[in-house]
Symmetry: D2
Subunit: 435 residues, 4 copies
């Protein structure tokens, strides 16, 4: 009977980001019923997924093609390593796990659309602007990030965003409507009970949002976290390991048992260390791009460790003034670019040029320990930079410097402060309280 | 025989920062022998010290007066709480424990000098610029901070800095010279063996530097840390507690056993929680003001916890754009002011005015947990701000907003990015790699 | 026949920003025909306008009421003086003349709407985002600024923006449609030929955009400028005058002929000086909020002079570090806030608090000269600050400072640079070319 | 008799920055009398100077060698063009004319010192920190800049700074002492009466400081300015010309009479245009590095024009977000680096990398006019960038954009502002005044 509803003439070919879930299955079927030919696309960025199952389902529902691409390497090397190089962090806490994956996925979807001569790109993101993509109750940040990337990568491809189309929204007003449509169209529905929150995972992290988490005072339940062991349950013995960096990029991780140099493999090893020892859990209320606040929980084991090690090594080898400039503008601005979906932008490119320049000497190794929820640096060394020297640090032999020099340094630094103090005294104001 | 060397006419009255150690005892005696009258001053900023013993020693060595002032309250309320309000941190890691105490100590020393009609201020800081004051092998940052504060608070008081005076340095070239002088002048010398590093402690933290730590790859030994239990030895059961803030300042801490509202007492309670559960250890290589790098270890239990809670609460109640501006400018710049001894400066006052303005709505409570080296937020709430609402977060009922609005938002945000992408295509350059 | 189309029941009361031009007259009539009751509002922010004529026209077209408010004083005192205090400038050239007026106008329109129990706010802005409001071919920046202000001041008032309503746009696709509608509805049409560009003026400036100016290489014709005499035609004799400031605000202007202290009157006097001597013409390509570039010409006589004088006085009285922080974040960020319509925002309030704090000592007088297109400072003086002193400047008597102090200052500043140079030599890289 | 005072054994070879004036002639002779062999060095950075006369004088006074190097090309291409690329300006007014020359001179002096196997570098800068070098009453900024450059370029060369040596200062306490020494040592003294201010000139500008200018309210006399005609005396007819840029660097200047492409020659042509039409006079009170304020007058004809043209072209071709980041960080920070003598520093190198990256598309031409003290842009064009298009500016044909999109854009931008307004209403605070 279904051939009755298939139109004779295709309205065009759509490349749909397809996850196999109820939402995107509904969209897939709906697009076909609307007269489109659909090429499904799924990026492998390290999430837990039965890819074969997704493919089977897509084809069963009528997709012309199901394209699954393993993007883990470009994800790690082009995005995650850049984040490590600039110590990226959003609002002091969030390591941008979801944001980092988006450009890689969007770029690949455009690539696939071009390859299969698609006219349209489609996705199942909804409108609210938080970090997850794969739950109807969420979206927002995701759709902004995907579509800004689409526009930059190929503005000639049109976007079909069903969750912003009045006819679609009218038809599917709640989960009941989706289930009814699924039953009518032979869309298999998972019998696994859904978690009372939404999740999005990839090689870097898993995020948890919405549902019971919308109360910011509701403590995430123990079973929520999927990427890290509860610190309370973590091993009683710490693990020690060493991360080697070249120009700010991790190039080798050594544990008592193994030594890994491949980019993806070493990141997975850091993930495993972090996972086993419960490192990298964050629970925050953050500011979405669109101006609303959102509560998110993230477990980000490997990146938390790598970022900490990188910051530590920079302490040893990076000039203080360069570091301050980098912190004030590159780190904060690059993180905001990524969060706001501005990856394919002139400002991100501009900032990244600075970031890479700053990493010329960030070469060396950091010894670390992970234990019950935390990672610690144990020591660091580098032969790339002359900025730290034990002799200079103790100043027993700092060439061309005498203790008396400090007298002049202080005298000159004090010129402004003396004037400030005298003015305050003259004005009868306290020197040290601003209120 | 000693009266032979005491001159008839005093060269003037000196207010000496006196700790009771070998260095400042030597300076005290030397100043007296040089013909000065000496008023000793010791600030109680919460360090571990036998104050009665220090007083006894000073008077025995010939000090005219020993003044000990308890500055803990002004330290906590005027400096530490300000640091909490702006999430102060230096180079991503150091919470400025020593830097925060300096302005309070220096201001009090000037106050005492004025009260006792002194003509001079003196201290035992040496010239190398690291975080500690009370070891000859250290100094530098300390002397800069103290003397800049002296100049701002009262430029008419002259400074005697023996460790920068050629005649003093010539005479005391090593510990042997100090011990010889001590023996000759009845200066009691502690028989406790000295730690192979220098330490400086106060209510906020203890710092450890120099000695074996000068090798940045030398892991701090287990016995080094004095303010925190080793995480490995911390209790197996987490502790839960709540911190209440008003305008960014902690006003109440509640644990299962107690509830404290006094500023000093609540900070001590946070210290105790942090101490017992091993929270707040940091080991870094940092950039000193004078341009050298230095390795420092710090344990900062209470401030680590308070800062984390404050950041968390700001997530709930602070506007995103204000936060970004505050992070980029106030947090980083205020932290640098403090680190560099620029507390009594127009720029610190300017920044602090902004910081306090930003805290108007930072009122609410944060529930936390401490466990084996880490502190975690469990939840937060506030009635002071309307920025977070569960309804808006889920966007089921965000007034005046429709999912379709995002279409226009994306279209306009994309204008620049499309042009960027098209230019790249035209120029034959890759869109997403800066190198 | 028109009473046929007037509905019995009003759809509600609309407060319409009405200028008397063809566009807003059309909207006025259209709203009435659509069944709304219309209260017209016109702000007097110093533009050249026959206000009585506008009122007559509005009432003739069926407005229930025409409200004209003189906002010049609040415009000058709350917006323009704030701009002077922070040396506001957008992209190095534009003094924000239009942007500064918008918040005052929008706030007044909301006030009027509330007073007359309106349900709606309406305006005739179009969609393209440039600086002018009163030409159909323009708009964009204006509508964003007005509507963001409306939302902040009273989100319960709904907005009717005809130039974004499909039914309106469909009906009025070109000037011919407007003229036809005008003829049918007795809307008087000005017989004055329209300039080949659009204009928007107020007490601060006149802006010129669109039309022939859209070619950025087309030199603005001599007759374009309305607020300034052509420098070539300006008097051959310069005029000298003095501006007095208190806390960064101009409080008195003295010329050879007069002395003015009233805020609005002194600003008008500065305008006259600037006008007569051709000061304040700018021709730029700027970046609109929405991401497009736009060419604009502005003549801004008085504000150009006042800003220059204020910058000059700050040189004499403001601390260097406060100035740098203020320049980097307050000046640039406040200017962007205003340009982007973010006046009623937490970040503008945050920045303005800092700006005002920075002005505590910006009190003094600046002697100036205007001549053929330029203003020059001739001298400045202040008794409010101790930062400049002739004695210190010549350093013949700088207390507590000796030439030898510079040796130590240089030695310590050089520590980082020596290491940098040595590293470069070691790495075989040139020291001074980054490429 | 003089051979009595010449020691048999040289204390070493000194490379002295020698200008031929009374101060450096005194130093030259004094160094010889102290037993040094002296190689004199004079950089030609475009200043007005009788170089042959200086050489003659140096050799007559006993210099082993007089080295004069023409550094104009490296000055223009490596420093001045970089300043143009980043619109460098210090404290909103000063174009850094002196600061830009210092690194080139210092680097060349080190080069000469190495070539002639010198052990020491020497200069005649004094201690007060202002912009000029060649008057005893001045100095400060100069000595800091020179010596920081020396240390970076070759820390093994020792510095002899006579005006900071107690024995020298004691001996030469005033001009009378210098004249007496000159008479005794056959040092020729110029009979030209000295201007009542000090001057320092090079290809970029002439600076005027000290003397009568120390009163900041003293208007510079008409005869002070040497590089620009008084605007009042400038031609009654404007001159029109065009500057062509490639990647932010001026590559051609076209006037009605000539067309120049050589870097030094085109800069000289811009200087001539500016000179003849009185462009580029600045009179300010600025903040010296060492914390004192100083009054300086500068005439900077060509650079003023080139900077204005460059800013104008950037408006046409540079992305808005990149521009804002560049303005906030690169422009301000690079300018401070140069002013403070931090040219040979890691932060300058870091910033310059960003600056150059930002200039990739700053290619095009700017038509200008100079007239009686001012330069105006008349138009600009570029084929390098797609950011400006007449079609998009008029938005009649902006692809993929509809006026309705603005509705969504505004709705989302307003989310934060509505909440802000509602909170203010709830708190009973005014929305728009920060005080």
């Amino acid at each position: 009977m279904s051939n009755v509803t298939v139109p004779k003439m295709s309205k065009g070919r759509v490349c749909l980001a397809y996850s196999g879930g109820l939402d995107t299955s509904t969209i897939l079927k709906w697009l076909i019923l609307e007269g489109y030919t659909v090429v499904c696309f799924l990026a492998n960025v390290g999430q837990e997924e039965d890819f074969a199952e997704v493919e089977k389902k897509a084809l069963a529902l009528g997709a012309e093609k199901m394209v699954i691409e393993d993007l883990q390497r470009e994800f790690v090397e082009q995005l995650v390593f850049r984040a490590i190089q600039c110590n990226a962090i959003y609002e002091d806490r969030y390591l941008l796990g979801t944001s980092l994956a988006r450009p890689v996925i969007a770029r690949a979807q455009v690539r696939v659309a071009e390859q299969y001569k698609c006219d349209f790109l489609s996705h199942g993101c909804t409108g609210k602007g938080n970090e997850n993509e794969n739950a109807r109750a969420n979206g927002g940040n995701s759709q902004v990030r995907f579509e800004l990337a689409f526009k930059a990568c190929n503005p000639s491809l049109k976007v079909i965003a069903p969750w912003r189309m009045p006819e679609f929204i009218q038809r599917f007003q709640g989960r009941a409507d989706l289930l009814k449509f699924a039953a009518e169209n032979n869309i298999p529905v998972s019998s696994t009970p859904k978690a009372p929150w939404s999740m999005d995972d990839n090689l870097v992290h898993c995020s948890y949002e919405a549902g019971v988490l919308e109360d910011p005072n509701h403590t995430p339940p123990k079973e929520l976290w999927t990427r890290t062991v509860d610190p309370v349950d973590a091993p009683n013995a710490p693990i020690e390991f060493t991360i080697h960096f070249e120009k700010g990029i991790p190039v080798k991780v050594v544990t008592p048992e193994t030594e890994v140099t491949d980019s993806v493999e070493l990141f997975k090893l850091l993930n495993k260390i972090g996972h086993d020892h419960g490192v990298g859990r964050v629970d925050i209320v953050e500011n979405r791009f669109i101006g609303l606040k959102s509560r998110g929980c993230y477990d980000t084991p490997g990146l938390t460790i790598a970022r900490l090690a990188h910051i530590d090594l920079e302490g040893l080898v990076m000039d203080s003034k360069v570091r301050k400039l980098r912190d004030q503008f590159c780190t904060i601005e690059w993180s905001h670019c990524l969060y706001n979906g501005m990856y394919f932008s002139p400002e991100r490119e501009f900032l990244e040029n600075s970031i890479q320049f700053s990493q010329a000497n960030v070469t060396g190794q950091v010894r670390m320990m992970a234990y019950k929820g935390n990672a610690y640096t144990l020591g660091r060394s580098s032969t790339a930079s002359n900025l730290y020297s034990e002799e200079a640090a103790s100043m027993d032999s700092l060439e061309g410097f005498s203790p008396m020099d400090t007298t002049g340094f202080i005298a000159i630094q004090a010129i402004r402060l003396e004037k400030f103090g005298l003015q305050k005294i003259k004005d009868g104001q306290p020197l040290s309280e601003s209120k």
